[in-house]
């Protein structure tokens, strides 16, 4: 496609008709010259007539062509040409992967800095007429001006998030779809780690744009903390943190558990190890802890923060009506220090005044009184009729999950269901009262003779019986649902209200953000940490890149990127070429018109 910078000059093309017009209309009778040797002249003219006619026709064409070329050159035509120095206004998107992995230091230079340099180069090649999109690690396409894009690059830092490259390219391709620019290009500047590409069902259709991908050298070896898990959920006061290590570095490294800048546990672990860090808290409360590895060239994934809640062992007691198995098990917990003696939590077949775990009484005649007592305390649940069968326990009931239930009273009502048996409520909670559908006896359930029975009671005392607490793991910027009791999220000491749909956008900055209830008490925390997939720096094979980005993708070197950038829209100013052509035509015209008058030979 050809455009013109000075289209008015095309009117000059009319001048190209001057030679034919002069040829046709402006013919005049030449002067008469007496000449004796007309005999020779006639013979010459007869011999040369065909050549002269052809030559005159050629001259006419050349002169017409010459004027047309000059008029065209004056109109400054521009056309798409791969060798052109400029380009047509284009839509160009730069996907700059400033995900966590871009913080790696390779050959003394941060990968992100190398990516940013390349990004600046791309923007330097762009013109003000280009429409520019910039996609960062959050994967959101932003249409920006060139100054804005450069400004973003000036202050860019690695974000502790994972960039889904295929989704990012697809998103920006969609954003560019309605752009009228004749050429669309997506430039991917990334370390192209394999985990940045969606796989399996996550992978959608490839982008339908020309994709130019460039990747700097990356680290071969790296390690990081993939995940941590606190066990038990509430330390009283001791507990463990189980850390999973990931990455490609097989060498062992020191693993430390730090609370308020003090190491409380140390160990050694290697790639794919689960390292157990045992510690204890001298005080009760919520603590921010960090699992740290020895630093390597990618430091951001060498730490992972977590929340540890420490509380004294719960006080628990059991009425005789709760059953002998339960009384014995509590004694075991008491002796091991997992619970204290006291009536903080009462296991009983009657409704008490404090925190209670209520089992159905063995005597059916007491059910009515119990249900009336429940109603009297405003509990919306009632014990129903006995049903027998064989069910397995499921739900948020800790070690009891999977235990067999043979007999139970139906729990009828509406409220929080902690566990089910046969898809019917088996453990429910309302306030500080927990109802269990089966007695802890072998005729009702296999749990009393199961190894999980004592841990289940520990779970009941220290988790269900204790003040509730929730840990919500999240990646930076991820939307997570928080417990209904949470009313605000403490961000840098400032409570941020939680919306009614309980969906919270996790802060971008890594750390522990505590959830607070209506009274301002801490009931849990959002642990914001890096995506463990960022630890694996292995580059994706080219076939993966090509299949993800589509057929029109090129994996390029820096020189290749420079060469291919805007190639589809490059254009050349043809004025120079036309003038050269006009010069050649003029030379040809001069040569042709002067031919026949040059040589002289004496007879």
């Amino acid at each position: 496609m050809i455009g013109f910078l000075q289209p008015l000059a095309l009117l000059g093309l009319l001048a190209a008709s001057i030679p034919p017009i002069l040829h046709l209309l402006a013919r005049r009778l030449p002067p008469v010259v007496p000449f004796p040797a007309v005999r020779y002249l006639s013979e010459t003219e007869r011999r040369q007539s065909r050549r002269l006619k052809l030559r005159n026709l050629l001259l006419l064409l050349l002169r017409t062509f010459l004027i047309a070329l000059i008029a065209l050159a004056a109109s400054r035509p521009i056309a798409r040409a791969p060798w052109g120095g400029s380009h047509e206004p284009s839509a160009v998107a730069v996907v700059l992967d400033n995900s966590l992995s871009s913080g790696a230091v390779v050959d003394g230079r941060r990968v992100l800095d190398v990516l940013v340099d390349q990004g600046r180069h791309v923007f330097d090649r762009a013109s003000d007429e280009d429409r520019v999109w910039l996609v960062l690690a959050d994967g959101l396409p932003r249409q920006v001006s060139l100054p804005e894009a450069r400004s973003v690059l000036d202050t860019l830092s690695p974000w502790p998030v994972r960039l889904n490259l295929s989704a990012a390219v697809r998103a920006v391709s969609g954003a560019m779809r309605d752009d009228p620019s004749p050429a669309h290009e997506v430039v991917v500047l990334s370390d192209l780690q394999a985990t940045a590409f969606a796989s399996g069902s996550d992978r959608d259709a490839p982008a339908d744009r020309r994709v130019l991908a460039w990747a700097p050298p990356t680290l071969e070896l790296n390690r990081g903390v993939d995940s941590v898990r606190v066990q038990p959920a509430v330390w009283s006061p001791a507990g463990e943190v189980i850390a999973s290590l990931g990455g490609s570095d097989p060498s062992p490294t020191a693993v430390r558990l730090t609370v308020t800048d003090r190491d409380i546990a140390r160990s050694v672990g290697g790639r794919d190890d689960r390292v157990v860090l045992a510690g204890s808290m001298a005080q009760s409360g919520w603590f921010v802890a960090t699992v740290k590895l020895d630093p390597d060239e990618l430091r951001v994934d060498d730490t992972r923060t977590l929340a540890i809640r420490s509380a004294p062992p719960g006080a628990a007691a059991a009425d005789p009506g709760a059953g002998a198995f339960l009384v014995e098990a509590l004694e075991v917990l008491r002796q091991s220090g997992r619970i204290r003696d006291g009536r903080g939590l009462l296991f009983s077949d009657q409704i008490g005044l404090g925190v209670s775990v209520v089992f159905p009484p063995e005597d059916p005649a007491l059910i009515g009184a119990l249900n009336r007592g429940l109603s009297g305390r405003g509990i919306p649940w009632q014990f129903g009729p006995v049903v027998e069968g064989e069910w397995q326990v499921s739900g948020d009931v800790g070690p009891a999950v999977g235990s067999d239930v043979y007999r139970r009273r139906r729990l009828e009502g509406d409220g929080v269901v902690l566990g089910t048996a046969g898809d019917e409520p088996w453990i429910v909670r309302e306030g500080n009262v927990v109802l269990v559908g089966s007695r802890m006896e072998v005729g009702w359930t296999a749990l009393p003779v199961d190894a999980a029975f004592v841990p289940f009671l520990d779970f009941m005392v220290n988790r269900i019986g204790a003040a509730p607490s929730w840990i919500v793991p999240a990646f930076p910027g991820e939307v997570r649902e928080v417990p209904a009791a949470a009313r605000s999220l403490a961000v840098h000491g400032t409570p941020v209200p939680i919306p009614g749909d309980r969906r919270v956008v996790a802060p971008v900055e890594r750390g522990v953000y505590f959830l607070e209830d209506v009274d301002g008490d801490t009931i849990g925390a959002i642990e914001v940490n890096h995506d463990p997939r960022e630890t694996d720096l292995q580059q994706a094979p080219s076939r993966i890149v090509e299949s993800t980005f589509g057929g029109d993708v090129q994996l390029l070197s820096a020189e290749g990127l420079d060469r291919e950038l805007f190639r589809g829209a490059r254009r050349a100013d043809l004025a120079g070429a036309l003038l050269i052509l006009a010069l050649l035509v003029a030379v040809a015209e001069f040569g042709l018109s002067s031919a026949g008058g040059a040589a002289r030979r004496e007879p």
Partner: protein, 301 residues
């Protein structure tokens, strides 16, 4: 300086400004003869006259080698002048001859007339019977060949009075001219040769067949060699009045080539027929042309 007095070597136009035909012709011939180290008329007769001492410039073929052997001195043999040759100068006076390509240049006819007068004088001085025929479409003038003293003046008058013609019907005229040349001799044909070559050659070959020696002076104006003129012009044939429109620049090379080929063809075909051919430009000094003619005459003996 010898050349300063030798008007035979001057520009013909300048020479023509000196006076009438006779003055020019005499001046040219005198100058021409003075430039020779020996008489062009001695040496090509058969009657021996005397010996004289050798001088620088004498031709070696006239050295008497026997005298050299006997006396050890160089003598050259001299012969009596003698004539038994009839020369007929045939001058083309057609319209095409009455043309000059430049203001300060003799027309072909004027040049040819002066050349005729000079040649006639040279021939008559060696006692050749010399005649003249002028023609265009017809034979316009005829002076029978004589060797009398007054012959040159008679001939000069005829040449002077010969008008420029209006056309060339060379075939008929030549046929009549050849009919007039009954006695064997030298026929000098002076023309711009702008007529049918085959017919002209046929006529001259006929003369050769009759035992004549034929000498052709192809007179041409230098402007006829190279086509010049305005960017576009209608060239008019002086004899037929035909017009032809051309751009001289377009045909310059091809025209030059045509003329060159025509001259070559004349030269080649004349040589094949035993005809002496000379191409003469009207800016060439008469002396050069006379030298060629006398050389030919010398070979005829």
């Amino acid at each position: 300086m010898a050349s300063a007095s030798r008007i035979d070597l001057l520009d013909p136009y300048e020479v023509a400004q000196l006076g009438g035909l006779e003055i020019v012709a005499e001046g040219v011939v005198e100058g021409f003869l003075a430039g020779l180290h020996r008489s062009p008329f001695r040496g090509f007769s058969v009657e021996f006259a005397e010996h004289r001492p050798y001088e620088a410039g004498d031709e070696l073929r006239y050295v008497d080698w026997r005298m050299l052997a006997r006396s050890d001195k160089l003598f050259v043999k001299q012969y009596e002048e003698e004539t038994n040759l009839r020369s007929m100068i045939v001058l083309d006076a057609s319209a095409s001859m009455d043309w000059s390509g430049a203001e300060r240049r003799l027309s072909k006819l004027d040049y040819a007339k002066r050349l005729t007068a000079a040649l006639a004088l040279v021939f008559l001085r060696q006692r050749d019977a010399t005649g003249f025929i002028g023609f265009d479409e017809e034979v316009r003038s005829r002076v029978p060949a004589r060797a009398r003293r007054q012959q040159w003046w008679t001939l000069l008058r005829a040449v002077h009075n010969l008008p420029a013609g209006h056309g060339t019907a060379a075939a008929d005229a030549l046929r009549r001219v050849t009919g007039m040349l009954r006695r064997r001799g030298l026929v000098v044909f002076i023309s711009d040769m702008l007529f049918d070559r085959d017919l002209a050659l046929l006529a001259m070959q006929y003369l050769r067949h009759r035992g004549h020696q034929v000498l052709v002076f192809h007179v041409m104006d230098p402007a006829e060699l190279f086509l010049e003129g305005p960017p576009e012009a209608r060239f008019e044939d002086l004899e037929t009045g035909d017009l032809i429109s051309v751009r001289p620049r377009d045909l310059r090379v091809a025209y030059n080539e045509t003329v060159r080929r025509a001259i070559d063809a004349w030269r080649t075909q004349c040589r094949r027929s035993g005809i002496a051919y000379h191409h003469v430009l009207t800016d060439a000094p008469f002396g050069y042309v006379l030298r060629r003619a006398t050389a030919r005459r010398a070979r005829l003996g």
